[in-house]
């Protein structure tokens, strides 16, 4: 019987799965036949921060297939369900293909020249009348390195304003300030290899099974092979992750701070700490306390750190007895003692993992500091298999937002605008007068949209993100955008969103493999891809868009490139050279499945700060936190207290509201919402609540409920039996659904150190609708 193309395709599919699972290769001849006419190119996945490798199959100018990249060390040939839909996402029916200009209530098609002329005139007008700080750009951790770099260079080095922020401020900023205050260098010492090598995993408010499925699978694979592996899931909501954990430890929102101090208390009380490690590698500090919540416009905070002794630190921890922590958190005292001993067990390789539970927290920097404390106290850090690891939510939150430094206060390679030497170095690489780069940071993301609402910012360009769905206290910022009086909003995107609907100009962008790019993932892995298909219609990449604005504003000299991507890369990597942030020449990334920085002499670094792995640590030095010169190359254990949330449940608003993500959707659903099958698997946001709470209120499964906070209200369907199970007194709502803007209810309180808002805690009431 003659085999059909369909049979060949099935053989090819089976062969790919067998290969990824490590089974003997089947059907190699049939698979080869199926591949005829398909050209494969590599790219990192464009969704979460894991950075899985994907092979993209193109036939006659169109993507026709995708594969998990068998050569990618991150995911070894397998993708999660979102990877499945990557290519489809580029082919949604409502792709933006032409620039659109607002004429009254209508968006009217325009040429690129018309759109860019209008945008440039608005920028010029605002800068001439109100000064450079009246214009702003708001991007994301989905910017490629080139796009983020060009925006940073134009705004700080050309226009002369620090008005640049990424949406990573809403997701990773507390991780950054956590790393900077503890180690004086952003990003982790360990890497994903720890998921294979460790045997004890503490997950803090991270639903890895849904939000980082491939990393979760690596950890579970480890456990399936090694029965000694333990997974402890701390959470305020029972999830798919909890189901797979050895222990699920529920705690009251915000008390993670107290629990971690309680664990530290027991570690020291029971003499489980590593004295030699502390003596050689750690200093102790205490900062300001009762630091506020950033609820007032133009809120400012500067921490003042004091060096303290180990004895002072012990005194600080004295109140955090297991019994006291139990009363705050609801975690039994005996459990706190047991887990402190597990953290410190010398025979165990312990890892801590977290994402938004710690970061989106009004004490997010502190939560990160306190997690590092546990690893520093026990000396379980920097060595293979035992590390703290801050996971990320966007594909280049690390590579672009953090490493390029697309924040108001930052410059590339951990440098800051407040440091004159850093400004000097940046200005020299950019070929501009150092005076051009303002020394004072302006607005964090929340403050940026407050400034737009007040009218202090007149013109804002939004690229690769959807703030008018994702900001907290959303009503205020949505109204602010359309107040008129000279305000002008430009949005570049691939689909219509809740942000494009508020725009004065919409620009159609190229997405993912419709352009050349570089992303950096959560384990310091930098990954490059080439353009593989043309964008639809007149869509153009954001790098071109930014450089075109630069040209029209008279800053074209900042971008004198013939091959912009490669030349930007070579210029950009000058910032990190010799600074422990070394990157390889561009060609190296075109071949490799990513390289983890620092890359020195062509070699990547799996583990930072440790002899034998990190080229910056000399023979005989063992472990050296070499970026923290001010503290004699030591890391910092911070005395950070428990302080309550900005808003806690009370009689009027008796429930905690926590927002988050689900497996089938990514962030605001702009891309995943386009794919009907994803919508079908999880079509609308629901209100997860505990059955006992529902019963008290007379609410039945799948009934409509009205949820209200002091800032807004929304009608949702109650889900008492969903994938996630809220604990008593808590409700959970996913934020992907553009028809149900849950963020209208969220409070715009933020961590005073990181500026990151808390989307996990505010007070709401629930009623039958």
């Amino acid at each position: 019987m003659e085999l059909s193309r369909r049979d060949f395709l099935k053989a090819s599919a089976a062969a790919a799965a067998c290969a990824a699972a490590g089974a003997p290769l089947l059907y190699s001849k049939e698979a080869e036949a199926a591949e005829a006419g398909i050209t494969w190119g590599k790219a990192p996945c464009r969704f979460c921060g894991t950075g899985c490798g994907v092979l993209v199959g193109v036939k006659e100018g169109k993507i026709v297939a995708t594969k998990g990249d068998p050569q990618a060390p991150v995911n070894k040939g397998l993708n999660c369900i979102k990877g499945y839909f990557l290519s489809k996402i580029l082919y949604g029916k409502d792709r933006l293909t032409k620039p659109l200009i607002r004429k009254g209530d209508k968006m009217v098609e325009a040429s690129w020249d018309e759109a860019m002329t209008l945008i440039a005139s608005k920028f010029k007008g605002a800068i001439d009348t109100y000064g450079p700080d009246s214009v702003a750009i708001y991007g994301s951790g989905q910017w490629t390195v080139f796009e983020g770099y060009a925006a940073l260079k134009l705004f700080k080095g050309g226009i002369g304003t620090n008005n640049i922020e990424p949406n990573a401020r809403l997701c990773m900023a507390s991780a950054v300030t956590g790393f900077m205050t503890t180690f004086a260098s952003d990003e982790p010492m360990g890497c994903y290899d720890d998921l294979d090598l460790g045997d004890t995993f503490f997950l803090w408010g991270a639903n890895m099974a849904e939000c980082h499925p491939i990393l979760f699978s690596r950890m579970i694979d480890n456990r399936l092979k090694n029965p000694n592996v333990k997974i402890i899931d701390f959470g305020t909501r029972r999830t798919r992750t909890s189901q797979m954990a050895d222990q699920y430890i529920k705690f009251k929102p915000q008390t993670d701070l107290a629990i971690m101090n309680g664990l530290a208390h027991v570690i020291i009380r029971d003499n489980l700490h590593d004295e030699t490690f502390l003596k050689n590698h750690v200093v102790f500090k205490r900062g300001k306390e009762n630091i506020g919540y950033g609820l007032e416009d133009k809120f400012k905070f500067i921490d003042e750190a004091k060096l303290i002794t180990f004895e002072d630190y012990k005194d600080f921890l004295k109140p955090y007895t297991p019994e006291y922590v139990a009363t705050l958190s609801g975690v039994p005292a005996a459990k706190i003692v047991e887990l402190a001993h597990l953290y410190a067990d010398k025979s165990r390789k312990v890892n801590s993992l977290w994402t938004m539970g710690f970061n989106q927290h009004t004490r997010g920097t502190w939560a990160n500091n306190l997690a590092y404390n546990l690893h520093l106290l026990t000396g379980k850090i920097c060595r293979p298999g035992e590390n703290p690891l801050s996971l990320t939510g966007q594909p280049s939150a690390c590579g672009t937002a953090r490493e390029v430094g697309t924040f108001t206060h930052r410059l590339p390679a951990d440098m800051v605008v407040t440091n004159p030497e850093h400004r000097e170095k940046a200005a020299k690489i950019w070929g501009v007068d150092p005076k051009k780069i303002p020394a004072k940071p302006t607005y964090n993301a929340t403050e940026m949209f407050r400034a737009l609402d007040r009218g202090d910012i007149k013109v804002v360009w939004i690229q690769v993100t959807n703030p008018f769905q994702s900001m907290p206290n959303l009503n205020r910022y949505r109204k602010g955008a359309r107040k008129g009086d000279g305000r002008f909003v430009v949005v570049s995107d691939i689909y219509p969103t809740r942000s494009t609907e508020l725009a004065d100009v919409i620009l159609p962008s190229a997405g993912w493999v419709e352009k050349e790019g570089v992303f950096g993932n959560a384990e310091r892995r930098t990954q490059q891809w080439f353009k593989q298909v043309e964008p639809p219609g007149e869509a153009r990449n954001d790098l071109w868009q930014t450089m075109e604005l630069a040209r029209r504003l008279g800053h074209g000299n900042l971008f004198p490139y013939t091959y912009p991507e490669k030349e930007i890369w070579e210029e950009y990597r000058k910032f990190g050279e010799g600074q422990g942030k070394d990157l390889a020449p561009y060609e190296a990334y075109t071949k490799a499945r990513g390289l983890r920085w620092p890359v020195v002499n062509g070699n990547e670094t799996r583990y930072r700060y440790v002899e034998g792995h990190d080229p910056y640590v000399k023979a005989g030095e063992g472990i050296k936190f070499y970026k923290n010169k001010a503290d004699h190359y030591k890391a910092v254990i911070w005395a950070r207290p428990y302080e309550p949330a900005a808003e806690s449940p009370d009689k009027q608003y008796p429930f905690w509201l926590c927002t988050g993500r689900v497996l089938e959707h990514w962030h605001t659903g702009t891309m995943t919402g386009r794919v009907p099958e994803l919508k079908r698997a999880y079509p609308n946001a629901v209100c997860e609540m505990h059955a006992d709470d529902a019963k008290k209120l007379g609410i039945k499964h799948l009934q409509k409920v009205k949820i209200s906070s002091r800032r807004g209200s929304i009608i949702l369907t109650a889900d008492l039996n969903g994938r996630g199970k809220a604990e008593k007194g808590n409700i959970f709502v996913a934020f992907f659904d553009e028809t149900k803007l849950i963020n209208e209810l969220c409070i715009d309180a933020y961590c005073p150190i990181s500026g990151e808002p808390d989307y996990k805690k505010c007070a709401v009431k629930v009623e039958k609708a």
Binding site: R6, L9, K10, S12, A13, A14, A16, A17, C18, A19, A20, A21, G22, A23, L26, A34, G57, K59, V64, A65, T66, K67, G68, G77, L78, N79, C80, I81, G83, Y84, S87, K88, A209, P213, I214, F216, S217, I220, D221, L224, K225, M244, P676, E677, L678, R680, A681
Partner: protein, 77 residues
């Protein structure tokens, strides 16, 4: 009609029973039960909506830990 392949990770010792359950699903072909409790399956359905419903159904089968996707071809849609 799209074609895809998945690797289904099962709890220890459960791969055979999961495989016999999911073999009953229309549109799923089992291509092997591997060591370490993994199953390789090929999925085909009339359209992607049905295909994805099958993947979601796999996720919900008892003793399934994860479903990961190896390959997806959608050239004729």
């Amino acid at each position: 009609m799209p074609v895809s392949s998945v690797v289904v990770q099962c709890l220890e010792g459960k791969a055979d029973s999961v495989a016999s359950q999911i073999a009953e699903f229309e549109g799923i072909e089992i291509h092997g039960v591997l060591p370490h409790d993994q199953i390789v399956a090929v999925i085909e359905a009339d359209d992607i909506t049905n295909e994805v419903d099958l993947v979601s159904a796999l996720h919900d089968v008892k003793n399934v830990v994860s479903v990961r996707l190896a390959y997806h071809n959608f050239e004729d849609i």
